[in-house]
Assembly symmetry: C2
Homo-oligomer: 405 residues x 2
């Protein structure tokens, strides 16, 4: 008997009808002879509605209280899924993150999983139950509820799959899998049959919203195959795993884009050791995640330092950086929230040349100005004006003949 972990996203459980549909899919997996653990998200817009309520009561709601508030959304869905399964004649039980043994640190609103003690989950599986676990949440040593932040329920699912030794972790959502380019921008786009963890990680980090990089990383670490598929139809979905041949292909596999970018430039920074740390240390402490960092070549011991953050963190990041910039003698500290990113990704790009040149040429022909460039072994990212991102995705898709893949 194999153990399957399934996670259903918010749109998949948006109302009673959707929940019944999901219950039927879970029942089918059980009927196929599997043990099933399900990770439930909050219904549709529940989380946004709870946040709106909190905002009515406090300008800056306390993170501990906000976590307890938001954690109720996933608990509600879990109980409803269990009830739907009961009414179909299947034994099922809902567990909160706490009951499922998901132990986290006490960084409210973006807690990290320290360990999973799945005793209760195992006990309920042995009793023959389908176990429904409330996603996105855990509990501290002091028994206080935490939430896991961005990508939380995906992370719950992959972490549970790892700790239970599951055969596969299935992420059900409202799209048919992982696309090589955004299908809203390129209508002929199609989901990939499979993708390597590394490529998925780049794709997730550089714009594809379908899965959070954090959950992909965890899947790679514990070697858990992750299937991304739609809960609304029977399309096969995309399998993310480590067995995809990396060397034999020689192409750009996918194009990612991202509009959630805020840029900060600290102008006239002395080029000496410790300067970067003095800026990025306090940002990390403030919980602001920094993405791309670029430092220009030093001219007479003075350089400019540019980096990007989530657009929603931009104002707060400026508050942190401004006094530090003044202290280290920077002449100016500027922010820009009109930018976007476009990336080409493919393991086939490793150790081969010409991709960067073709990318820059293609953009230049369309008069798209590149503000920043960063690369990894299997990715090239250009930061450009936000209102040119759509066009950039289309022309790159054509230039690299992604559809012929």
């Amino acid at each position: 008997m194999s153990l399957i972990v399934q996670k259903y996203g918010g749109t998949s459980v948006a109302d009673a009808g959707c929940i019944k549909n999901v219950a039927r899919r879970i029942a089918r997996t059980k009927d196929e002879g599997n043990q099933v653990v399900v990770v439930a998200s909050a219904m549709g817009d529940t989380t946004d509605e709870l946040i709106a309520l909190a905002d009515q009561l406090s300008e800056k709601p306390d993170n501990r209280e906000l976590d307890v508030l938001l954690s109720t959304g996933e608990v509600v869905t879990s109980t409803l899924l269990a009830m739907a399964l009961h009414s179909m004649g299947y034994p099922a039980i809902s567990l909160s993150g706490a009951q499922a043994g998901i132990r986290t640190d006490s960084t409210y609103s973006r807690a990290r999983i320290l360990k999973i003690e799945p005793k209760r989950v195992v006990r309920e599986l042995e009793k023959g139950n389908i176990v429904i676990v409330a996603g996105f949440q855990g509990i501290t040593e002091d028994m206080d509820v935490t939430t896991l932040g961005r990508g939380g329920s995906d992370t719950t699912a992959v972490a549970l799959a790892a700790s239970l030794g599951a055969k596969e972790c299935q992420i059900y959502t409202d799209v048919e899998g992982v696309y090589n380019v955004d299908p809203r921008l390129v209508p002929e786009a199609k989901p990939l049959g499979e993708i390597h963890y590394e490529e998925m990680l780049e794709l997730a980090t550089y714009g594809a919203k379908v899965m959070h990089p954090r959950a992909v990383e965890l899947g790679e670490l514990f070697n858990i195959p992750i299937l991304v598929a739609s809960s609304f139809n029977e399309s096969p979905g995309t399998l993310i795993h480590g067995g995809v041949a990396m060397e034999v292909r020689n192409k750009v596999r996918s194009i990612a884009h991202n509009l959630d970018i805020g840029k900060i430039t600290v102008v006239g920074v002395p080029d000496r050791p410790g300067i970067a740390a003095s800026i990025f240390g306090p940002l990390a402490k403030a919980g602001i995640s920094v993405d791309t960092i670029v430092q220009n070549a030093s001219i007479q011991g003075i350089t400019d330092l540019t980096f990007t953050v989530f657009k929603s963190d931009l104002a707060r990041a400026m508050e942190v950086v401004k006094p530090i910039a003044a202290q280290i003698g920077s002449s100016k500290c500027a922010s820009d929230d009109t930018l976007g990113a476009v990336s080409i990704i493919g393991t086939g790009m490793q150790n081969t040349t010409g991709f960067a040149a073709r990318m820059f040429n293609t953009l230049s022909e369309k008069k798209i100005n590149i503000q920043l460039i960063t690369t990894s072994e299997i990715r090239i990212t250009c930061i450009i004006s936000a209102d040119q991102v759509k066009e950039a995705v289309r022309v790159l898709h054509h230039a690299f003949e992604i559809e012929e893949e």
Copy 2:
């Protein structure tokens, strides 16, 4: 420094504006130099909405899952109250029933409190926090969430007050206190300044919805004064306590009525030992609460047995009773859901006569037929047709001159 426990009902926390109002009242109690523990109910219609959702997914939702589902309502309010207090500059923390140490048996949907282990509550009070506890819920030995059933949040409040040695338990609601007669039926009705536990218990049991008898009993047991008052104005409310002189008054103090009555009559029951037990044992096991029981005088070893249950339990009770009735040789088993009850209550009625006669005469003059009569030392209850209850309350109010109290 005194410790005050305050409980706010659903209408008192129905929306963000109400919650802010409640937060101001809590802050004032804290400013007056008290330690404050607050028990929060679910917002407005939340509980009904969650039940409606459950009903869409299952004809008979599992009690364990339903308890987990419903418990989220009180958790949500608790966090919002804490946030509202924070934004006013008051330290506050929300705790679930589990975190507040409310240990119950595992009778889902109507669990009984076994004990309270308020270590965490005490620790947070010592830190200077206002402690907001989610009402209506507890946790079993297996760490499963339970709800306390009818009167649950009142019971949480009084039980916490008892275990913390509070000076007073304040129940805030949408009425100005305990009335001697329903003000919707008798406009000149006014709230009582004080009332003895015993009288309140009869009043609560026989129709006054303002407080559940279970919480009143607990208050009496631990001698916790309970103030019932409005959260919407500054009226003084009604103090329920044990210090009210019981003997010096000689009057009917209040009139209660109740429309939530289902009657079952088992006709032609053999009058021999063990028959009552054979009927009421299985009802108790099915969790059906039986109220009034009347057995007529035996004629040739055959009697009729009549009893009342909550109207919502009537169908289920008939299912339990019918096969038993057939087994013991009853000729017929009938139910009636068109009845109501009216009661006169007053400790002044103890050991005095004439009250029953005056009550029966008054009803008879208005051609109100009495189906069943039951009495306690300080109460007389008549079961009558539901559509005559309003009139009965009015004429009894006049006959016993309640308004002159």
